[in-house]
Amino acid sequence: MSENSGIDVRGVTKIFGSGAEAVHALDRVSLAIRENEFFTLLGPSGCGKTTLLRLIAGFEQASEGDIRLDGEGLTHLPPHQRPVNTVFQSYALFPHMTVAENIAFGLEMQGVTKPEIKDRLEAMLALVQLSGLEQRRPAQLSGGQQQRVALARALANRPKVLLLDEPLSALDLKLRKEMQIELKRIQHETGIIFVFVTHDQGEALTMSDRIAVMSAGQVLQVGSPTEIYEHPTSHFVADFIGETNFLQGEVVAHDTTGATVRLSSGATRQASAPPDTASSGKVSLAIRPERVTLTRNREAAALGGRVENVVYFGTDTNYHIVLGDGRGFLARLQNHQGAESPFAVGDEVAVEIADHALQVLRD
């Protein structure tokens, strides 16, 4: 894998409007997307993920910064000259053309020969399992089928990059899960870079090789699903993905094995920390509800409190706890022993945290 391959986004800023009404959709965003990667841009609406996608596609121009593909600049190329194809959120299938004409469109524009188009068409229809429907019009297809046509239409051109703008958002749950598996499979088979935009963190975690979490025009963290989930580096990332408990603590020491932090109860534990964490000072900590255990032994426990609410939902049970200092804490225990829960409302419990379960946040 050479230095220059993949997508290189450098210091990209996009401003809409001007003067007092200027909106910074993207603020000095830098990213590197590798070859053969299923890369997801994840964030709430308005975070800039779709804007970034459109910049790569060429439908918008960056106000500042640079985007390169395999080392060559894209910013001065109009969309019809970029080796990049898009699957639109609304599919954007040409209503006045058949499925076959839609899929063949890009090839026609590039001057591909008729026999070659025919071969590609058959291959694509087989890939997305729509063989036999090629003479239908988009209006005669179901949502799921339209989505697959949009996919085939983009893939037929064997682009270097496939951009997917929340392509599954209009599908019902079952279909969505099926398509998630399909997309992953297709990416694996074709080896094309997939840049996938979604606001659904579950989708991001299950499908991606790496995720970029975005908020308010900035990239907050880039990493594999595990890294993002287990080691969030900011409040937002910790909060946006899954459920999190936030604690206050104080760094006592920081070395290559990790950071030692002291909690409000006085207990100290080892915590994972970003490399640039200071060796001392107050910090925010994050811990996932499923990473704690509850016991009745309050001595030497990390935290202590009283159970306020018990919520059973089949596989697990959530315990809403009020800590000694009045703050809330969520613990989740898997129901190994079935529905019967070991703790009841009103019980005094100890929250036990193992070393390296805590994560130091930057903000």
Binding site: G58, H80, N85, A92, F94, F105, M109, Q110
Partner: protein, 268 residues
């Protein structure tokens, strides 16, 4: 659904609507009816006859007038629709700015000026061209005058169609390597076509039906069908006028019907 109707009902409104419809169509019905009257009188019915139609169609004055009308209407439609299409492409799906507002006002200006004012102004303009610069376009004068007021009539349906079009379709075409020109030819234009056809039909009918502007701008020998009818009406009616009028009415109704069917298909 009886409940919903109940709430919406206002006493007497249905009757007014029926009367309205009757009043709008009654005079036309009389005209059409008596065009088939064998008798010259408009109010005494003798027997059914196609005589007047035969006479009308054979009448050289009418034939010539029809030809002129069609020539002018065709020219005005073709140019008016083309110009309106270009104008619509330029002014739609763009953020409203002072420029687009001005453009929109200019394009719709012929609709806002009373016809008699346009008529005399155009007459004065062409008279000035003739006496001052010696320039006259012959029948072209009339064609130009018609084109001017046909543009806004063609513009409105085209613009409406364009505004309803999904912007992402053109982006998708560009994404699939179509140059701006090919995007226009393969995606934008085919999807705009129903609007363009509707606009053209409107322009044609409006040109065909024009009276006042034509009255003042047309030169000798440039009598259009409405002008011929006007002349006949003033001289004292011959029933051939009824026949010609009915034919014109039929053409109008045909066009409006087509216009509606087009709109229906596009909506479904």
């Amino acid at each position: 659904m009886a409940n919903a109707l109940d709430l919406k009902r206002q006493p007497g409104f249905a009757s007014v609507a029926m009367i309205c419809c009757f009043v709008l169509y009654a005079p036309i019905a009389v005209l059409v009816l008596f065009s088939f009257n064998a008798n010259r009188s408009v109010t005494r019915w003798t027997e059914f006859s196609l005589d007047w139609y035969v006479r009308a169609l054979a009448n050289e004055g009418i034939q010539h007038a029809a030809l002129i009308s069609i020539e002018v209407a065709l020219a005005a439609t073709v140019f008016g629709t083309a110009i309106a299409t270009a104008g619509a492409l330029a002014t739609t799906r763009i953020r409203r700015s002072r420029g687009t507002n001005i453009a929109y006002t200019v394009i719709n200006m012929p609709l806002m000026v009373p016809e008699i004012v346009t008529a005399i102004a155009t007459l004065s303009f062409f008279a000035l061209l003739r006496t001052g610069l010696g320039i006259s376009f012959g029948l072209g004068n009339l064609m130009i005058a018609h084109t001017v007021f046909c543009i806004p009539f063609a513009y409105l349906p085209i613009r409406a169609r364009l505004e309803n079009m999904d912007l992402t379709l053109e982006q998708a075409a560009a994404d699939l390597y179509a140059t701006p020109w090919r995007t226009f030819r393969r995606v934008t234009l085919p999807l705009m076509l129903p609007g363009i056809i509707a606009g053209a039909m409107l322009a044609f009918i409006v040109s065909l039906d024009d009276v006042i502007i034509t009255l003042l701008v047309a030169g000798p020998g440039e009598t259009t069908l409405p002008l011929y009818i006007l002349g006949q009406i003033r001289r004292g009616v011959t029933p051939e006028v009824n026949a010609v009028s009915t034919i014109l009415l039929a053409v109008s109704i045909l066009f409006v019907t087509l216009f509606f069917f087009l709109g229906r298909r596009q909506r479904s």
